[in-house]
């Protein structure tokens, strides 16, 4: 909560005198219906949870490097009963909650909630979302979820411990594990709330983008960020309800005694599991029907932001704007027919597996198009190595690694060996941390001036980038090697298998890198808060960018724009020969005699 107050405070200072709106502190900063405030509320909540998720991850790493060793400092505080060491059931909780927090409370809400909220109206030239109250609700529906998840650590049995995938029957049967008691129920409730929040957000975004674009802002003049947000919202609107239905079914299995995911006559831990009649695999199908599209929900907006940042600091139009748009749509469309690739080893019908393998291979195509177009964008450019640019470039670099490892897993025979090994864990973190989180950092450095009216420190930003980049690769790249050795994931102590005993030194190396990476984030925290209050003040358009948000005052007041934006061209007209400057804002009228300014597209 405290971070809210701080954030709002800065916002207030920045706003002072911008608008004579006397709605009171609560109305303006807490129960605000202003998309910018809501966006910043999302940003602070998610960054806070990022720290929580990160610390959980560090505890995971501790156990993997030095199993059963007393945790320094926190160990005696948290589990003195176990001699300060992590117990195996606590380990399962750690990675379950680590992933649940990171995915449902950090990555998804920071992309759609924070950036989506802040950027969509600004970048399309609207004064707010189409439904500001709904927008506010979508933030406040996160709070019951936050509450459920936090609470779940303190209930008997502890927090959910069935993996972030919550597979039944482990998750659905109370007696199956300590975490499958109250903790799992709270986990389900929390996810349902997150789902409702996302659903409210997504229909609102769609309406806003469809109906409230500024004059001249045709669909093919939208910045990639907006296209990505648009398609992300479509994915959420169509995939999320299926997860919601599945979550409710598991909840009913657990609380009422239905049997959707429980076969007949099942006995777990000497206790009857309930009525039965259902099928365990049903959950996996429904879960992945959402959660595979969800991994694209977790990367598309970052791809959009990265495209904008790269084009801006390459001072050159985005290469292949339309192919980029089509590839986003392609990823979204194909994303709905590949969910089975998480289930190759699940006992799914192997013919079905073959079909999913082919579609999974095909989904690499649109991603390939994107990578090549980013490379095309920096070809022949004039690259400015700013902090946001470095993060955006590292997004490309890391996404290539994460994406290519996906090809191994998509190849079903290879997946036989690497499924549920650290190869998968490596893949996850390359796409999610190396990809999305780096994209998010880039986005924060890029839009920070617009949010708070001040610049972040460039030098410390670069130090943060360098350390994160180096230690990130140190932590996660070697996971592929572990995976190749068959090192299984989700194991509290893998070293009592003869096959994996020799892999401990590598794990220690990874843990040290992970600790260092965590520590490097402190630089970011310091830079963030320092700059919020003491960073150099900036004008409307510090990066000399083209898109509409830079046309608005900094920071934008209530209603966003002080002049009606009218759009004359696409968002990426950097280095245009039509004008003398190396940028050419979308709102700048064409000079005399230049009536035909190009839309982005092929020439």
């Amino acid at each position: 909560m405290s971070s809210h107050a701080i954030g709002s405070h800065a916002h207030e200072m920045a706003h002072a005198g911008e608008h004579g709106h006397a709605a009171g502190f609560l109305g303006t900063y807490v129960f605000s219906r202003d998309h910018k405030v809501i966006g910043i509320q999302f940003l602070f909540s998610t960054l806070l949870w990022f720290v929580v998720g990160g610390l959980l991850a560090l505890a995971v790493r501790w156990q993997l490097a030095w199993p059963w060793k007393e945790m320094p400092i926190v160990g005696p505080m948290l589990f003195s009963a176990e001699g300060g060491q992590i117990s195996p059931e606590f380990y399962t909780m750690l990675f379950t909650m680590h992933a649940s927090v990171m995915i449902f409370f950090v990555i998804i809400p920071i992309l759609a909630g924070a950036f989506g909220n802040f950027l969509i109206p600004l970048m399309i030239g609207a004064d707010d979302m189409a439904f500001p109250t709904l927008n506010m609700l979508s933030y406040w529906f996160m709070w019951p979820a936050f509450l459920c998840m936090t609470l779940s650590f303190f209930v008997p049995g502890g927090a959910a411990a069935a993996g972030w995938t919550g597979y039944p029957t482990l998750a659905a049967v109370w007696t199956a594990a300590p975490g499958s008691e109250m903790g799992q129920t709270l986990w389900l409730l929390g996810l349902i709330f997150v789902g409702v929040s996302s659903m409210m957000g997504s229909v609102n975004y769609l309406t806003t983008i469809i109906q409230m674009r500024a004059p001249g802002m045709t669909m093919f003049r939208l910045p990639m960020t907006i296209w990505a947000m648009f398609i992300t919202a479509v994915l959420q609107a169509f995939a999320l309800p299926v997860l919601t239905a599945a979550l409710f079914m598991q909840l009913l299995d657990r609380t009422v005694g239905t049997g959707f995911f429980i076969p007949e006559g099942l006995v777990v831990n000497n206790t009857s599991a309930g009525a039965g009649g259902g099928q365990t695999l049903l959950w996996q199908h429904l879960f992945w029907f959402y959660s595979h599209p969800a991994v694209y929900i977790m990367i598309l907006p970052a791809m959009g932001m990265v495209s904008d940042i790269i084009s801006c600091f390459a001072r050159k139009p985005l290469f292949g704007y339309k192919p980029m748009v089509y590839s986003i749509c392609g990823i979204a469309g194909l994303g709905f027919i590949v969910w089975g690739h998480h289930m190759f080893m699940s006992g799914m019908n192997p013919y079905l597996g073959m079909g999913f393998m082919v579609s999974t291979m095909m989904i690499a195509l649109p991603s390939a198009v994107k990578v090549f177009n980013w490379l095309g964008t920096i070809w022949g450019a004039r690259i400015q190595f700013t902090t946001p640019m470095l993060f955006a470039l590292s997004f490309v670099s890391m996404f290539i690694i994460g994406g290519l490892s996906g090809i191994f897993m998509a190849a079903t025979p290879v997946d036989i060996f690497i499924h549920d090994t650290y190869f998968i864990v490596g893949h996850i973190h390359y796409v999610l941390f190396g990809g999305t989180a780096f994209g998010v950092f880039g986005g924060i450095y890029f839009w920070f001036p617009k949010m708070f009216g001040r610049m972040m420190n460039e030098f410390w930003g670069k130090v943060h980038f360098f350390l994160s980049f180096v230690f990130f690769n140190g932590t996660f790249y070697t996971m592929h090697i572990l995976g190749a050795g068959g090192f299984p994931r989700r194991l509290a102590d893998p070293y009592h298998y003869a096959s994996f005993r020799d892999m401990q030194p590598l794990n220690q190396f990874m843990t040290i890198c992970a600790l260092a990476m965590g520590a490097s984030q402190l630089i970011f925290v310091a830079n963030f808060f320092y700059s919020m209050f003491f960073g150099p003040k900036v004008g409307r358009n510090p990066w000399h960018a083209n898109t509409l948000e830079w046309f608005a005052p900094t920071p934008p007041g209530h209603g966003n724009f002080d002049m009606q934006p009218i759009v004359y061209r696409g968002p990426y007209e950097y280095g245009s020969p039509e004008v003398d400057t190396d940028y050419y804002p979308q709102t700048q009228p064409p000079p005399e005699g230049h009536e035909h300014t190009g839309d982005a597209g092929h020439h």
Binding site: L170, R382, I401, P577
Partner: protein, 252 residues
């Protein structure tokens, strides 16, 4: 600073390839393969490793080169003002498409060998029934009559014996939650699902002891759900079965 950052990005492919070159010589990498079908998987692994390795190095080096070459601080050349190239888009859509399609078709046979061509369907009897249970592997051999569910069934826990160079058919089940029957050296992995009986078949080509790993989260004791696979000659195997049977009768 542009040079520094470019080189940082160049270090990615160098480090990336370096690690994969360094690893095998230090005992990291695919474990020894002792199965009849495993070479197909290993071959595919290597094939994809080389292919993606090439793509990886190519893209990362291009990234480095553009960063190095087009650093604004060092070059005053005007930017190449272009919105893209239709021809290039076509090329870099079709090339990967062809490659990926090739991989997709190329691997189908290996998949079918491990998961589709079930010898049980042709009447092969079950060698052993394996049931995952929190947190142990329960084994049941059909005994002399070759049928499960008869009085001469042999029961055992965690210590799986099989004869070498013979096709083995496992009936995989779970008693409570999901488990996963993972034999790294035999390139076999299959979830055990409550309520389902899933056939798993393989042929071991070398005698020895290997780990039987539970690779699907099954609760707090998941990490210690360890079994052992003993591959032995037919003679030893038969003797072991007889001993087991005798011991079992003695305790009755």
């Amino acid at each position: 600073m542009g040079r520094f950052w470019s080189l940082l990005f160049l270090s990615v492919p160098i480090f990336g390839v370096g690690v994969f070159v360094w690893a095998p010589s230090h005992g990291y990498g695919l474990p020894k393969d002792v199965s009849a079908h495993g070479h197909q998987i290993d071959h595919l692994w290597n094939f994809i490793l080389i292919l993606t390795g090439l793509v990886f190095v190519a893209t990362e080096v291009v990234l480095f080169w553009f960063l190095w070459r087009y650093d604004a601080a060092r070059h005053a050349d005007p930017v190449k003002y272009t919105h893209g190239s239709h021809n290039l888009e076509v090329i870099w859509t079709i090339l990967p498409a062809a490659t990926l399609l090739f991989i997709a078709i190329y691997q189908m046979n290996a998949w079918a060998d491990v998961k589709i061509r079930n010898p049980g369907a042709e009447g092969m009897p079950i060698t052993v029934e394996v049931t995952g249970r929190q947190f142990e592997w329960r084994l049941r051999y059909p005994g002399k009559d070759g049928k499960l569910g008869t009085p001469d069934d042999i029961y055992h826990v965690n210590d799986l014996h099989i004869p070498v160079n013979e096709e083995i058919l496992v009936a995989l089940k779970s008693a409570d939650v999901l488990h996963d029957f993972f034999l790294p050296e035999l390139r076999i992995k299959q979830d055990a699902v409550p309520g389902m009986q899933i056939p798993v078949w393989f042929k071991a080509t070398e005698t020895g002891w290997y780990d039987l790993v539970c690779a699907e989260l099954c609760g707090w004791g998941h990490y210690k759900m360890k079994g052992r696979l003993t591959v032995e000659s037919r003679k030893d195997y038969d003797k072991w079965l007889d001993d087991m049977y005798a011991a079992q009768e003695a305790t009755k």
